[in-house]
Amino acid sequence: MKEDLQMKLQAYLDGELSAGEAKAVLGWLAQDAAARNLLVELTNTRAALLSHESEMKVSDSREFYWSKIRRQIEGEDKIVIATKRISLMDRIHRLLVPAGAAAAVFVAVMLALPRTNGVGDGFADAGDAVAFTYHNYDSGTTLVWLDYPAENDLSEMELDDTLDL
């Protein structure tokens, strides 16, 4: 049997043919015993695989397995935590400036201002998928580097929930 016919038979099994093509394959199957046999084999193999669900289990304890994940997450989150601290400062600042009724508060705010500006120009939320964030104060420019598309070339591009799969 020619390779293109074998591929067509397989595509038929996988539901990848148009209605017209599928009908043509059915007609061919009716006349060709070898094609029927091959289809039976492919069907059997497919059925065997479909029934297969690996029961592999992680041998590490729940705590041990999680500990490595947690360490990595916490490492990655350091930048985010830093920016969240600034966010808190920024919120306090926001509350105090409009209130501004007392000179002492005013002074405190004025003292806090340069510190806030010096640290980060007022970041708020950094809960996105950043690989890292960098701020150059002299040029007033913030860089948010993303893993999108992922450096491991398709890990994010192919996410079913976000793209084509």
Binding site: D121, D128, Y148
Partner: protein, 156 residues
């Protein structure tokens, strides 16, 4: 005579407070803002991959260089200018497949959302962006060691 210093102090306090309130109101209710966004291709190639891609302007070049990016050349693939009213999110396409949403908020903060190929959210960020400041999102293009950048500069 004794009243004069007290009155003077009260007057100064009042002026300071009015100033504070005015400053806070002006920053809280800033009407609208104008932005410039550019899709930029970062590469080490001397020539851009497309003749239509022009190098970024000098100011953008300097800002990008200040970020310590490893690429030598930055070409503008697309540039858009747009305005957004306070509290209203404006969305503009920066390529056929991606777009950027910008919402201008109180205290000159912006909420910036980057949308990917299927409209999915790749990044959401809130930060202050004063006039002249720039926020740059970027990522590697692993296939050819170049990078994509989306700049957002507040110009008004």
């Amino acid at each position: 005579m004794n009243f004069k210093p007290k009155f003077g102090l009260a007057w100064i306090c009042a002026v300071v407070m009015v100033g504070i309130v005015a400053a806070s109101i002006s920053s809280t209710f800033a009407g609208e803002a104008k932005f410039e966004s550019q899709l930029v291709w970062a590469t080490n190639d001397e020539k851009p991959p497309d003749a239509n891609y022009k190098p970024v302007d000098q100011e953008t070049q300097k800002k990008l260089e200040s970020l310590g990016l490893k690429w030598k050349n930055f070409c503008v693939v697309k540039r858009v200018e747009f305005e957004t009213k306070n509290g209203v999110s404006g969305k503009v396409a920066i390529s056929d497949k991606s777009s950027i949403s910008v919402k201008f908020m109180e205290e000159e903060k912006v909420e910036v959302v980057l949308h990917g190929q299927k409209g999915e959210e790749c990044s959401r960020r809130v930060q202050q962006l004063k006039v002249g400041k720039m926020l740059v999102h970027g990522g590697n293009v692993p296939e050819n060691s170049t990078a994509w950048l989306v700049t957002l500069k507040r110009i008004k």
